[in-house]
Structure formats: structure tokens, C-alpha cells
Symmetry: none
Subunit: 125 residues, 4 copies
Amino acid sequence: MITLDYADKRPLYEQTKEKLRELIINGVLKPHDRIPSVRELASKLSINPNTIQKAYHELEQEGYIYSKTAKGNYVSPIEDRAQYGSERCAELLKKLENTISELKLLGGKKDDINEIIAKIYDKGE
Amino acid sequence: MITLDYADKRPLYEQTKEKLRELIINGVLKPHDRIPSVRELASKLSINPNTIQKAYHELEQEGYIYSKTAKGNYVSPIEDRAQYGSERCAELLKKLENTISELKLLGGKKDDINEIIAKIYDKGE
Amino acid sequence: MITLDYADKRPLYEQTKEKLRELIINGVLKPHDRIPSVRELASKLSINPNTIQKAYHELEQEGYIYSKTAKGNYVSPIEDRAQYGSERCAELLKKLENTISELKLLGGKKDDINEIIAKIYDKGE
Amino acid sequence: MITLDYADKRPLYEQTKEKLRELIINGVLKPHDRIPSVRELASKLSINPNTIQKAYHELEQEGYIYSKTAKGNYVSPIEDRAQYGSERCAELLKKLENTISELKLLGGKKDDINEIIAKIYDKGE
DNA sequence: GTGGTCTAGACCACC
DNA sequence: GTGGTCTAGACCACT
């Protein structure tokens, strides 16, 4: 369900968050689905439960999941994620701007970028 | 000439590198121009000389500058930078792909991205 | 008769207590009325009987209900609840003070609070 | 500067957050002031650095402080706190409503509440 | 020395 | 067994 990449520079809890966020946004995990318990996922990924706990905690802050003590963690209904989503979008667009700027600086061509956009946006549809 | 942003999460040496690289690529600093000494720039930015040292060292590795011992640091001729440039470009395109993917996931629109591209590529030309 | 809110962070037994206390204070359940058995209520709410047991036990401590072994649980006469009520009132006033203090700190306006008070105190009368 | 109350049921990092938030909102700590380092405060309070780290991390998320690696943590300028502040206010008003509702239920008088409001809002001014 | 991440292991409340 | 908090101790990158 989730795999970690130790070559990746980002912290493990960030990778976990991203993977889960993806599964949720993509609808693989549906609202009110139960996700693996802290200890269960930690043991499957062979990392410390605290690391998963941190990932889950932040996903809860961001509105992607909610927790019931002694019950488990569950996927939030879509409306709870809207606010965070729009903030995150703004962040990403900002990041995009920086990356493209540097790319232009180094002589990157507009078409290379358009190709990537096409690849992603016209892929599955 | 260079300003640092303390709100930026990236290390100071990274910011310094980026700013210098920009000046070099843009041609503000021309091949064989002398750039400020480590201690001079450190004092201007009120940061530790070690930090500048690290920035210069990496810029040298990447082919943007070269140093003459006891003489100072100088901007490399363009041909020395080509290899790094193409590597960095590949990196940036990869990063772009990830960012755009997440953006699409969150419901970001193709047009928002195209707008940014237009803004950057059609700005100064 | 009682519904639980799983989004609520408070434990289920707390919610159960509160709901029952409300029904008792409001007079929906009258002194010496029989309340549902532990197992009955647990099954209706689809939760563990231990959870209801704990709620009933604490309500008994607080003087709201009394139990006759092998007979069931019953609403206490009003005089048995007076002591707990005044203690709880003091607690609530203390809590109120903290909340209002923080609110003022954050720039909350006196009128917003008065509006809430009006809404609650002038509602049903 | 900060003291913990071990009788308090809330987690230590929550208490730490609250105390610091108060000092910041009250203006005792001013924008861009440096606050104690993670280890320093931990040692003063005789608790684990991780606990302080958690408190600082959340305060950063909420816009009250920002951190510079290898430099320390600093109080954010006021504009960074605005968004969180208004969200928190809404939360507090909701909490207030619940508390007052229960108070009314138990026979608490409107005047007791008004007295508290007066005490807080007319205190220092 | 400073923030940030991670592990290992413990304890608690809740169900 | 589940989430949540806390401790102790380690390691890393940055300044």
C-alpha cells in the first residue's frame, strides 16, 4: 500500500503523508474508510510508531483524516479537506513559478514544460 | 548585490549560491570577472565566512566559478558551465513533473500553469 | 433518545453522561423513572456495554441516578443532585473565565459574547 | 517566564504553547524577538526537549513563531498571526456556547456570567 | 550550539 | 488493541 524511499531526502513522515494524501485524493481510500493503525503501518514499514503518529497527526490537522481514540484513524469527508487543498494549491503554484524561472535561466525550453503538462493532464483521460 | 531571506527555509549557503548563479547566468557577472572575496561578502551579508566558503566551493564544483589561490574567485567561461547546466535542467524538469502532478491531484487547472509559463517566458522578451 | 457524535473528541462515556444528565435536568426523565439497562442502551448505540456501565457509574456518583441491583437504574430525586450541581457550576464558571480571557486576548468583542448569552438565555422563555 | 502545572490535565506541550501564545499576544515578546532555544527551555522546565520541540513546531504552524535552523526561534510579525487568530476565535465562541448552555441547564444565572465578563473586559482599561 | 528527525520503550485513557 | 503523550538518547545539517 505504501513504500518508503530511503534515497529520498525528505523525512519519512513526509513521505508517508504524501503517499496517504495521494491515496485519499485519488479516491483509493474513501471517506470514512479506516486506515491502518499507527502500530500496524509502522511495523509494515519497519519504522518507529512515533513517525507514523506524526504523519497521521499532521494529516489530521490538514483535514485529510480524523481519529477516534481506541478505534483507529479514518478518512475525512471531502468537505473537510477543501480549505487545506486551496492553500496547498497556492503554495504549489508559487513553487512552480520558482522552478520555471530557474529553468528559463538555464536555457530550458518552453516546449519541454508543455510536454510535461500534456503528459500529466492528458494521461488518464 | 545579494540579499538573504531569513523566512526562507533553505540554508543560507543555498540562497547565496542561487543568487550568484543567477547573476552569472544573466550575464551581470561576466566570464573572468572577479567576484567578492569570501570575507568581504560574508561581512556585507553579516553571516559567517564559512557559509560563503561553502557556497563558493559548490559553485566551483558546478563549474560556475574558479578560484586562484590568494588571488580571489572568478567567473568561469561559459563552456565550463554547460555540463552542470544540463544536469540541473533535468533535475528541474523532474521536480516540475512532481509539482504539476500534485497540483492536478488537488484540482489545479491547466490554465493556471500556462498563465505562469506565459508570465515568465513572455516577460522580458 | 441519545445520539453519539464520533467527530467529537470527548470519550463516548462522557457524551453519554452529558446527554443523560441533560434529559434528567430538563425533566424529560423524572425522579424514579427507570432508565434503559446497560445492555439495552449499549446495543441501541452499538457500543460496548462497558462504556455505558462507566457512564452510569459516574452519574450515580454525581447523584443523578441510583441503581437497584438486578432491577435497573432509576433517576434520583432532585435533592440528591443539588450538591453535584453547585460544584459543577463552579467548575463551569472557572472554565468560562479562561475561555473569555483568551477570547479577549485574541481581540474577541464583548458583544459577540453577549449575543451568545442572549441566544441561550432568551431562547425558550 | 513559563511554569508548568502538573495538576493540569492537559499535555505539557499544550501548556507550553498556551503560555507562550499569551506572552506573544500580550506583547511581552515582540515580533522578531528571539525565544529560548528548545534545549534551554526544556532544561529550565525539567522536561524533555522533544516536548518543547512539539510545542514550538505547532506554534510555528499557527503563525506565532518562525524558526531559523542553527539560529533559534523568533516571534512572528503580527500579520502572520491574523489568520489563525480568527479561526481560534470562532472555536472559542463555539466552546463558550456549550459551556453557557450547560451552565443554564444547571441553574446558573445570567448575572454570574456578566460579572465574569465585566471582570475581564473592564479590568485593565 | 541550534533546529529537525528518528528510534526505542514506556505509560495512560479509552473501548 | 488503539490513539496520544512523554522520556531518553542518538544523529544530521547548518552556522
